[in-house]
């Protein structure tokens, strides 16, 4: 695809190893290990309270792990000489001073990180916030705050992006913009780790997923493989005026057939072309023939069933 993927690029790899965080007597994160590769968008998924935010904050040296460690390009965040140029992070939407203008918020970061102040204007334009540059943060909408956070993360042109629920508060246009934006960053060879609850969005965005629940790793891998591993059997939805005839014919082909509440047949065990052929042979008229692929949402709910819930 791109240089970032074909050439071995370990500088942006995120490695979480045996990370644990105990609050009081609750294990917010429990012996969690996973890797995030450069050049791909990795979705970090889990029910409320699963420990996503805590994990990301430990990765960024904001929270001290009880045990284990996390590194970015082989180094802990605290040990990076120039963190802003290596890693961009978007945590919550409200980490700017309410009385400060958007542009000044970015200039403070530029000054502290030794970046030219002109970067502040550049990233504001990049996220489409230039018209609101001189407005105070308290006058920003949720989506504008989120964009300012992304702008701040981009200041140092980092090769690693870490985002905690960045789609929060974005409008459909904004969500589509962000999807394109993050995908293009990954295509440039950067590492993109993004947590989210929006599973349909994740299915469009992510190449890999890391699914956790109750502080533990549930499943990790490329999206297709994770989905495939759960529901090998795709389901085909068939509508026909002669449903009973078709059903009998299909069951002879050792398919399992259910009927939904609208009278459509839900067929498992044979694929759509086979069903078409069977229908033709039996001279049965077809009104609908649709393969329903299992989606990330279904897989997620199945994987985290019983492990979800606020602890």
């Amino acid at each position: 695809m791109t240089d970032g993927r074909s050439s071995p690029n370990t500088t942006g790899e995120i490695v979480v190893s045996r990370l644990t965080k105990i609050y009081g007597n609750a294990r917010a994160v429990n012996d969690l290990s996973f890797r995030v590769e450069p050049g791909r968008v990795t979705g970090f998924l889990g029910p409320n309270g699963a420990g996503k935010t805590t994990t990301l904050r430990m990765l960024l040296n904001l929270v001290t792990p009880t045990a284990g460690q996390a590194t970015i390009g082989g180094r802990r965040y605290a040990d990076l000489t120039d963190p802003v140029r290596h890693v961009g992070a978007v945590l919550e939407a409200s980490s700017a001073h309410k009385g400060r203008t958007g542009i000044n918020h970015l200039r403070v970061i530029c000054t502290a990180a030794g970046l030219p102040r002109s970067r502040a204007d550049e990233v504001l334009t990049q996220v489409g916030l230039a018209p609101a540059a001189q407005r105070k943060f308290k006058g920003y909408s949720l989506g504008m705050k989120q964009r300012l956070g992304i702008a701040a993360a981009m200041l140092g042109d980092p090769r690693v992006l870490i985002l905690d629920e960045p789609a929060n508060g974005l409008d459909p246009e904004g969500i589509r913009w962000m999807r394109g934006f993050l995908k293009s960053l990954a295509a440039e060879g950067r590492t993109v780790l993004v947590s989210s609850h929006l599973l349909s969005e994740m299915q469009l965005l992510a190449d890999d997923v890391v699914i956790i629940a109750a502080g533990r790793l549930i499943r990790q891998g490329p999206v297709d493989r994770v989905i495939g591993s759960m529901a090998q059997t795709a389901r085909v939805r068939v509508r026909s005026p002669q449903a009973e005839t078709l059903r009998a014919a299909l069951e002879q082909q050792s398919a399992t057939v259910d009927v939904d509440d609208q009278g459509a047949l839900l067929v498992r065990g044979v694929d759509a072309p086979t069903i078409g052929r069977v229908a033709l042979a039996a001279s049965v008229e077809l009104h609908e023939l649709a393969t329903e692929r299992p989606d990330l949402e279904g897989v997620f709910l199945e994987l985290t069933a019983g492990k979800a819930g606020i602890r």
């Binding site: 929270v63 963190p83 001073h97 502290a112």
Partner: protein
Amino acid sequence: MSNLVRAELVKIRTTSTWWIMTLIYLPLWGITLAFNWLQTDALTRTRLDDVPAEQSEAVGAVAQPDALAANLYTNGQFFGLLMVMLLGIVVVTGEFFHQTVTTTFLTTPRRSAVVLAKLAATACLALIFWLVTTSANLLAGPAVLEVVGVSAQWGSAVWEAVVLNGLAYLLWAFFGVGLGTLIRSQLGATVTGILLYLGGTIGALTVLVMAANRFGDWINNLQLLVPSLASALMTTGVDIPGEPPRWAGAAVLIGYGLLSGLIGILIMRRRDVS
């Protein structure tokens, strides 16, 4: 490091706290000037024979022209120190109140450096407060002295008081930063700071005076341990009989200043930001 200090100064400059403090401080400065005028006037009229014998020495000391001048040239100290302490508090607690601490520590994971930069930036601000106040005092003070019939004093004792006053501004700014790290709630830290400053001064004075009456004058030396009394002592311009020497006040304040800075760094290094 200089980048960090500049960033902290930009943070202060791009929010409204500093000019709100200044606006509050201006009338307070005027009030203390009026008060000191009356006091100076009263002291120059006092005949030592009228004063009870055991106090005559002390009153004699503060009525010296040097002491009168020192008092006027350090005018505004009482509220000025309060202001810089509150600024120091806001510089730290504002980060938690507005959740900007996440951004700050992401930008600079070396947290000790962040606290040091905050100390330095607050110190800059405190010195500006001191410089402006002192300039105003050096204009108003001689005028007051002339009105009450004392010639303006420019001796070394006076300058010493002015410089020590600057030190007091610096150290109170440090207390503010230290207090802000100890109590991260903005309201909590502000209220505690004001109580310590005002209540501490008045309360401690009352207790000390009562204790001194009961147990003897050596108790008076304990006022050194009360930061606001130590800083007042430090800037009297002359050593007052029956009270600890000025340098001791300075030493105690420097000790407190360093201690609060150090505690601030230690606390910030460990704290989870979530």
